[in-house]
Amino acid sequence: MMEFIGHAGQGFATALSPQTLLFCFLGVTAGTFIGVLPGIGPLATIAMLLPLTFYLDPTTAIIMLAGIYYGSQYGGSTASILLNLPGTAGASVTCLDGYPMARAGRAGVALCITTIASFAGGCFAIVVMAVLSPALSKFALMMTSADYFALMLLGMIAAVTLIGDAPLKGLAMVVFGLLVGLMGTDTISGQIRFAFDMPYLYDGLPLVLVAMGMFGASEVIASIGSDSAEWLAKQKITLRSLMPTREDMRRSHAPIWRGSILGSLVGVLPGAGSTIAAFMAYAVEKRVGPNRDALGSGIVEGVAAPESANNAASQTALIPALTLGVPGDATSALMLGALLIHGIAPGPTLIPQHPEIFWGLLASFWIGNLILLILNLPLVGLWVSMLKIPYHILYPGILVFIAIGIYSVNSSHVDVIMVGVLGVLGYALSLLKFPIAPLLLGYILGPLMEANLRRSLLISGGDVSIFWEQPLTLTIMLLALILLLLPLATKGWRRRLAKELPQD
């Protein structure tokens, strides 16, 4: 216990230094600023803002990233409530009750409850993270390369079969991502792979390019021609209208608790992430909530439950990413990639070797949450006016921002053009209704997975039974198999769920 307090103290000491506090604040602000833009989800926001952190030292950079992460999620909820334009699948649950509330003139209350629920969910999840991560990382030290391979397989399969209605397409995107991740020089044999005789690709395709192109540039292409809702211009959101009534607060209390607990649990599972958490929290409200029949018509419970679950899960999703080095969803994969860029290899050794980073990160998560709470309630008017900027004025700015961000990384012209190419590719894939996020997960896992496969086979001397001999490996493999077959078994269940959660 004393050790724990010592660590927490150390974390706060790191996170509370004026410099890190400033960057956390900047991250939250910038994240909300970009995240609130319609159609731009947390992934795109983090991808676009990632280069801003390259000039900072690793600890500060990660803390700023955490701020961006939070800000982008909060901004995304704002856009979903006010415009019914969810940036992510997870945020679409918030739309179900948030948007009707906004139409009924209670947008301010919905936003306020969102902020409070997110804060509560985040706080709960941070405690879970502080307790669970060190234990998990001790456990992870005993894991073999075959276990890791199995775990990555499980994560990838879970990420596509649990969400999305086209599991085959999702799997194809994961595999495509794995292949993109393998581009460039193979570290073991020195063989150059998939470079198409272009020296530019000998080092592979950098994460920033893939993320910015596939999420940033392609979102811009997809959103051109769309415009924000007319009715919003007439909405007035004042600080007074934000204040939830005593009744609202009382009714949100239990859903927030349920959402936080459920979200924290679901988030740790590989591949599940915040989307599933939000859906499940809503489904639970639909079953046990005292006002379950009114859900969907715009009541606070419908906002409080998914938002707290969403935020709690996106927090605990970082537990496997940080302690095992195996991200569960695309967003934590991006965070993992960002850590790698800063020379930190997440995994079982992160906590023992870089305690200042882990505990600093945790403390800054909490501070990021707090800054959000303080920043967003008074500034909600500003975010709303952001939403009122017509898109045709906004997108040249976003585009220029992407271009400068990319150019600042390597001062390379080819990089900027490459982002355009990837953007068009991402746009084409989304036209064909391929989910793009699994690609990023595959991209991050590609080299890791291959390395663990090679190592396992080397250790076993070519005996493939290493992948099912040990009980732990076998269990993970079986789980992966079950999840792979899940879409076949749950067609009926999915249809029922789709009926229960109308996606107008």
Binding site: F176, A222, L399, V419, G423, K433, L457, L458
Partner: protein, 150 residues
């Protein structure tokens, strides 16, 4: 004549995935495959290529007998975004940040029909100013603001 109904996004997507899988498998089989106890750089991508072919065929099979439509692609937007980024890339090295921003913002506005010269000019200039403040003045990025190659 009886025609077979295919869901177009799945049919086209499936063909695309199959092709990528085939190309991948073809390329990776040229790399050393190694032995099972010490697999070479070709083995993992070869396996992935084969999996991708199977997935692609599965997606095509799933498209049979369903109907659907592909969303109308906005190729103009895609082209303009590409052109805008390319111009930015070509200008920033030899002319500096401000000309690159002005030109790429200007081009970007061609993506939709509401093009007013004066408004675009104001937009481009304010963007240039904003970016200068954020990236050069605040963040101190080592990018030349304006260069005149003589």
């Amino acid at each position: 004549m009886r025609s077979i109904r295919l869901e177009p996004t799945d049919a086209i997507g499936g063909v695309l995935v199959t092709l990528i899988g085939l190309v991948t498998a073809g390329i990776s089989s040229q790399y050393p495959i190694g032995r099972i106890s010490n697999i070479g750089p070709g083995a993992f991508p070869l396996a992935l290529g084969i999996i991708m072919v199977l997935l692609g065929l599965g997606i095509i099979a799933g498209s049979v007998g369903r109907t659907g439509s592909i969303p109308q692609p906005n190729w103009r937007a895609a082209g303009v975004v590409m052109l805008s980024l390319t111009c930015f890339a070509l200008l920033i090295g030899s002319f500096g940040l401000v000309p690159a921003i002005l030109v790429s913002a200007f081009i970007a506005r061609f993506a939709d029909n509401r093009f007013h010269f004066r408004r675009v000019f104001v937009l481009a200039c304010s963007l240039a100013l904003l970016c200068w403040v954020i990236f050069i003045a605040l963040l101190g990025l080592p990018i030349a603001v304006l260069e005149l190659p003589l």
